[in-house]
Symmetry: none
Subunit: 301 residues, 2 copies
């Protein structure tokens, strides 16, 4: 995997943006909120819940965070107006985590207030390991005011996560558990897929036994199996957890989970800043990248 | 792996000793006790403990065991004099296991007496399966006199090990648990890596639950994960076990383990008889052997 990852990391910048956009279409609802709304409506009809992600991250100027807040406010209002089973997920760096922590907290507070008005919910996404401590601190700070209207994400590939779990369980936090997708140094993150899966299963068991509401975010059939096993073992009701999957990924597994009586929330990215999200998703999926490279060569013929 | 192992086993005897020595430098402290002392000092500064192994094995004459005893006596005295956090590990065939069991017991007794004088510790290494029963018997015999000043090694790849565990746990033995590195017939040892790993994890759990002090000897990230999980689950204190790794192997993982608050002992081989140890280590590492072969071809050009 190390080698393939290097090839992909070195190759992706050479791929024309138009090609990446073409292959990303499946994973992104569109550029406008209305595109995301259409996606949510059709998912609702099929029995799924949703969470909206306005694409964008690593903001470096305070003014840019303003625009992101406005877009998320519009999303919360649309969700409320149309009565959609959806909430929002936000990358803290998009609201200024790396610019000014107090500004970031203020931005999140505005969105949490709006969510509170509509009995809705705001999730702080988790980004690379340079953000982990600040994001968790921000979550606990927001929690003091907004309680269960706010949630956070932890990543099974990080070695530190089992330590972070203690205070999350103490607080009965609403936690999304994912494997983690950023490229991290081996001192911080497990690289071996089977260790990440063991870690995911152990963390999930601790969270569920600890009485936390968990967003079980995975596309891995093996982890879905382990999760269903734990849910049965602990006799949980379907409203004590939810499965979560990204738009456009593993649709068949998505349907199976729903038909097994679980709730499933689809993560819907939309907006103009689709490039960073798309390349990260592509790096996760070497098969897709090889399709892209083949498509490029065909174009050149 | 079977094929690669065969290639390597057949190729290594053709590799000039100078080449093997070059590639083994990383894994062996040097020829003299003073080389090992330097290694121990720098490991101590970095926060690691050590165990010394005077290279040599399969001794066929009684006089040769005398020389090995003298070298180990010198090692114990140097460790005591310099206040190093180190003990010694000895291959029983080096002290005459295959020559004369009573001689071997007498040799070990001399070293254990010296160790006792300095509140130190002697570990009987485990060799191939032709030595297992005699080594365990020897250990229990020495234990009658020297108690916890003496320890032994068990190998997870041997099918018999889970049976040997009963009396080791009864005695609350100090046990190093490793996978096993010798080439053994399938009737005696598991060949499949995932079975060896399951066996390792199960044996480790039994030992820790049984209250044994375990030297968790592994370079496998997966087993380190399982060990850390067990340690947390059983709420063990860092002085109830130790991790162990060979000199020159997986340094990054070594640092991670230390920074996670565990103790780690590095196994330091030194001495003139470096060939058998080096070829065994090389057989374990096919990538390294392919580097060696490439280096040889370059030399021939």
């Amino acid at each position: 995997m190390g080698f393939i990852n290097r090839v992909i990391t070195n190759t992706l910048p050479l791929v024309p943006k138009g090609v990446i956009r073409h292959f990303s279409r499946k994973y992104i609802a569109g550029e406008a909120l209305e595109d995301a709304a259409r996606e949510m409506e059709s998912l609702k009809l099929a029995g799924f819940m949703a969470t909206l992600d306005v694409l964008g991250e690593d903001v470096t100027r305070a003014e840019e965070t303003e625009r992101a807040v406005d877009e998320y406010l519009a999303a919360l209002q649309l969700i409320a107006k149309r009565g959609l089973p959806a909430n929002i997920s936000i990358k803290p760096t998009q609201l200024g985590l790396k610019v000014d922590l107090d500004l970031c907290h203020k931005n999140f507070s505005r969105l949490c207030e709006e969510a509170q008005k509509h009995q809705n919910f705001v999730r702080l996404d988790m980004e690379d390991s340079s953000c982990t401590s600040e994001t968790l601190d921000l979550y606990f700070r927001l929690r003091e005011t907004f309680g269960d209207r706010v949630g956070v994400v932890i990543q099974a590939y990080l070695r530190r996560t089992h330590l972070d779990l203690d205070r999350l369980i103490d607080a009965k936090a609403n936690v999304r558990l994912c494997k983690g997708i950023y490229i991290e140094p081996p001192a911080l993150a497990f690289r071996d897929g089977s260790i990440v899966n063991r870690s995911y299963t152990h963390l999930l068991e601790r969270l569920l036994r600890g009485g936390c509401y968990v967003g079980i975010a995975t596309h891995d059939d093996k982890l879905v199996y382990e999760a269903e096993h734990l849910i049965r073992q602990l006799s949980l009701e379907p409203d004590q957890y939810e499965f979560q999957m990204l738009l456009g990924v593993q649709r068949q597994l998505r349907d199976v989970i729903l038909s097994n009586g679980h709730r499933l929330r689809v993560y819907i990215p939309y907006g103009r800043d689709w490039y960073a999200y798309s390349t990260r998703r592509l790096k996760e999926n070497p098969t897709l990248v090889s399709h892209i490279l083949k498509a490029m060569f065909r174009k050149d013929e």
